[in-house]
């Protein structure tokens, strides 16, 4: 069940330059949430009306708590970065479909996150268990890497070469000779494109999390479509709604 809930910020900290980690206490949403789903956060300023979609980084279902890790990209995320423990924040969720954890059970899974696509892989790793390969790509400064190291077999790539393999996640895959039966990934479009190509080449299914500008977040407005290879179920054209049919798709479903 989706709901718009007025929640309380439990804690917030800056974990890297411009990157914030926030725990939010919810009544309903955390209980129902799954790895790879997202929530939408609302600004308190009436000039910014659309909610900001942010992926779930961790879900504490028993405690009713959610963690998000986000980058300050504009005025909305800037506003969120000033929230303090005890402040209220309106959120809509849980949204989207999440990663198909069942597709990973009993298989060698590789989780790949690039940039601000890293955070959602944390809950995914936890839900899959510790047998996973995790491959995180950063520009320079690392974040969440210690938590990932505890959650699986962590490999790192940095664009400036300051840690791990110099380059992107695909460079790490090649240099570190990583192999898997299935890939779950989140990151910028060029990274997803490379992963899709790699998956086709190796014949392994890749589940990728997509991004697009959103308005409703629930599938009603048709803002957030991506081109799908097959006719979609909603409009019978070739457009899947990222907010509702995704954000996680099998890479072969999508034109990238």
């Amino acid at each position: 069940m989706k709901i718009k809930e007025c929640c309380t910020v439990e804690s917030q900290e800056c974990i890297a330059k411009g990157i914030y980690s926030m725990w939010i206490s919810t009544k309903v949403i955390a209980k129902e949430a799954k790895a790879g789903q997202f929530i939408s956060l609302f600004s308190k300023d009436g000039s910014r009306l659309l909610p900001r979609p942010i992926s779930l980084c961790e879900i504490d279902r028993e405690g009713g708590r959610l963690r998000i890790v986000y980058r300050v990209a504009g005025a909305g995320t800037e506003e969120f970065s000033h929230l303090k423990a005890g402040d209220e924040v309106d959120i809509l969720g849980p949204l989207g479909n999440g990663f198909p954890i069942e597709e990973g059970k009993g298989k060698r899974v590789m989780l790949m996150g690039g940039g601000i696509g890293v955070p959602p892989m944390l809950q995914t790793a936890k839900d899959l268990g510790t047998d996973t390969i995790i491959c995180c790509g950063y520009r320079d400064e690392l974040f969440l890497n210690e938590e990932f190291a505890a959650a699986g077999d962590l490999h790192i790539a940095t664009e400036d070469g300051s840690a791990g393999v110099k380059g992107n996640v695909m460079d790490a895959v090649r240099e570190d000779h990583l192999e898997a039966d299935v890939i779950f990934a989140c990151g910028p479009a060029p990274m997803l494109r490379a992963i899709k190509a790699y998956g086709l080449e190796k014949g392994i299914p890749c589940w990728i999390s997509m991004e697009e500008k959103m308005a409703c977040g629930v599938g009603a407005c048709l803002a957030c479509v991506c081109q799908s290879t097959e006719v979609d179920g909603h409009s019978h054209v070739h457009n899947k709604r990222i907010c509702k049919d995704g954000p996680v798709f099998l890479s072969t479903e999508i034109e990238l």
Binding site: L49, L50, A223, V225
Partner: protein, 300 residues
């Protein structure tokens, strides 16, 4: 306390409707609100055949509102009749089908196809600013407005709502033309053509360059147009443009709207429709209004 209003013989239990394109065919928001509490559900524009819509990005946030250039993506009338009408029939609310087309024939084909369907009203969108053919092209010239209204009326069994564009010099001219063509109801406003430029990337914020502006920012323009049209025609008016609360809805009703539609507000408050229904009742109690119809056009 009477909250029901009448649109060309169709009795709505209350004046609160949804705005086309912001509420799908009701399924998504039925997770948040009970559709039977609404006066009517107005569906996303549907054409004779499926339309893929525009490339992304399709929307951009603007101060107090948004731009959209969805481009009328829709599954076409066949899927719509098979899937969406039966879904909506489960709820005790009126069904208004919004119709789009590239040519007059397209519109008429959809309208004719709907004669045998259990829908209450048809809303003819001649004011979408986001498609190259059809849409707004029909809605900015009084002769074209009158002609398409007349043509559509020939095929229609249900009463016809003509949806007007605010991107015109004189909205009353378009309203009178639609009335002359036989429109049973008018709805306004559709979106205002706007543009946003991303100065960092030096690119248009939406792929289509321009988009239709909606949300609270456009409300004063919409209220003004509803007021002007109410002085100019006799047919009932559905007012919309920036309505996010009962207070907003009442502004339109006092200006002359018989019913109101809530659009963009659903995106930032999925409960906006039912909250508006309740807020109107609360206002009526507080102001000792027995019949909502006495508020329609009460400010002159």
């Amino acid at each position: 306390m009477k909250t029901s209003v009448n649109l060309a013989g169709v009795e709505l239990k209350n004046p609160v409707m949804t705005a086309s394109g912001t509420f799908g065919s009701g399924a998504e928001y039925s997770e948040f609100v009970d559709l039977k509490e609404l006066g009517a559900v107005v569906t996303k524009g549907v054409a004779n055949v499926p339309w893929p819509g525009n490339p992304t990005p399709r929307i951009a946030e603007v101060y107090g509102g948004m731009l959209n250039a969805i481009g009328l993506q829709n599954p076409g009338i066949d899927v719509f009749c098979e899937r969406d009408i039966p879904f909506l029939k489960q709820f005790d609310t009126k069904i208004v089908v919004n119709v789009c087309g590239r040519t007059t024939e397209d519109y008429c084909e959809v309208v004719e196809r709907l004669t045998s369907e259990p829908v209450d009203l048809l809303e003819i969108n001649i004011s979408c600013p986001n498609v190259k053919e059809g849409g707004i092209a029909f809605g900015q010239d009084p002769k074209a407005v009158e002609a398409i209204t007349r043509e559509v009326k020939k095929y229609a069994k249900q009463p016809i709502i003509m949806k007007l564009s605010p991107n015109v010099t004189d909205i009353t001219e378009m309203a009178r033309a639609a009335e002359a063509g036989g429109a049973d109801v008018l709805s306004l406003i559709n979106t205002l053509t706007g543009m946003k430029i991303d100065i960092e990337r030096q690119k248009f914020a939406i792929a289509n360059k321009t988009g239709g502006m909606s949300g609270p920012a456009v409300k004063p323009i919409a209220v003004r147009m509803v007021y002007q049209v109410a002085q100019a025609v006799k047919v009932p008016i559905i007012g919309m443009g920036g309505i996010a609360s009962a207070e907003d809805a009442l502004e339109f009703i006092l200006a002359g709207a018989t019913a109101v539609s809530i659009g963009t507000a659903n995106f930032f408050n999925p409960y906006a429709t039912v909250e508006t229904v309740r807020g109107i009742e609360e206002y009526m109690r507080r102001h000792k209004v027995d019949d909502i119809n006495s508020l329609i056009g009460a400010v002159r």
